[in-house]
């Protein structure tokens, strides 16, 4: 994995809960579609396994974490690895602001979950723009 001055997006790795899935769907949208040139997806599993390249990348780039529950594994793991968390998101906090988008489903989100992931992705996009100084270009 190469991460040359990109914002690391680190979603929850929790399997079996809709909020974890929302975090990953949002992360895919940001890293594959919205801000593909400026971001890089970092799987939590690589950090847990101690992958040196991933740890080094986090040491040199800001990270945006997306946690699926209060355990906040993504945020804690990045900090544990010596990374700098520029912004942490919690899916539950986003849902509290968008109650109409109740996430359900695990392998496949319902419409509410997909919409929640979209609004979360937009908020992450803004943070990425601030970190890369490209707010004007992507607005």
């Amino acid at each position: 994995m190469t991460m040359n001055k990109k914002v690391a997006i680190v979603p929850c790795s929790g399997i079996g809960k809709p909020y974890g899935t929302v975090s990953r769907v949002a992360a895919y949208q940001v890293t594959e579609d919205d801000r593909a040139q400026d971001t890089c997806l970092v799987p939590l599993a690589l950090l847990v396994l101690g992958d040196e390249e991933t740890r080094q990348a986090l040491a040199n780039n800001p990270a945006v974490t997306i946690d699926g529950c209060k355990l906040a594994c993504a945020t804690k793991m990045v900090q544990e690895c010596g990374g700098k968390v520029a912004q942490e998101f919690a899916v539950l906090d986003i849902y509290r602001r968008y109650r109409e988008f109740k996430p359900q489903g695990i392998a496949e989100l319902n419409e509410g979950g997909e919409k929640l992931a979209q609004v979360l992705a937009v908020e992450i996009d803004r943070v990425v723009d601030e970190l890369t100084g490209k707010g004007g270009q992507n607005a």
Partner: protein, 149 residues
């Protein structure tokens, strides 16, 4: 600060405050004269998961024991909470609207739900469990749940 009974089941630590009574669901009731403050036990909040929303019946509501006093939506479930005491709600914790996570963070303290002016506290208290009785029930339930994992 209340004293607690504590037990660890699997990887989870559960506490039961000793200075209050409990119904079977795990709603606690703590009396100050005729004013009864109620909330969720530590076990109930942990089992329910992170709380997204709480809707407590408004002040002035008159409830019988076992009537729904609040409903909560967590990341796992929606739950209706039965009132452990009959009476009139005189105060709702304002934090429930803006910071329902207080229930998860401090279930026996800042995460209280509401205060009720009891119509007959002695009668209702007789139907509730004291802390040791609830602790034994909760521990058994938690151990049974752990076996399912």
């Amino acid at each position: 600060m209340p004293d607690y009974l504590e037990t660890t089941v699997d990887k989870f630590l559960f506490r039961v405050a000793t200075d209050r009574s409990y119904n079977a669901v795990g709603i606690w009731a703590k009396a100050d004269g005729n004013l009864i403050r109620i909330g969720l036990s530590d076990y109930l909040q942990q089992r329910s998961g992170d709380i997204a929303f709480v809707e407590v019946k408004p002040s002035g509501s008159v409830l019988a024991a076992e009537d729904e006093v609040a409903s909560i939506e967590t990341i796992k479930v929606n739950i209706s909470l039965p009132c452990p005491v009959a009476g009139k709600i005189v105060r709702v914790n304002p934090e429930m609207e803006t910071a329902p996570e207080k229930i998860n963070q401090d279930p026996f303290g800042e995460g209280w739900l509401c205060e009720i002016e009891a119509s007959d506290w002695e009668r209702d208290q007789a139907g509730l469990m004291d802390a040791p009785a609830y602790f034994a029930r909760m521990k058994q339930e938690a151990e049974e749940e752990a076996k399912k994992l």
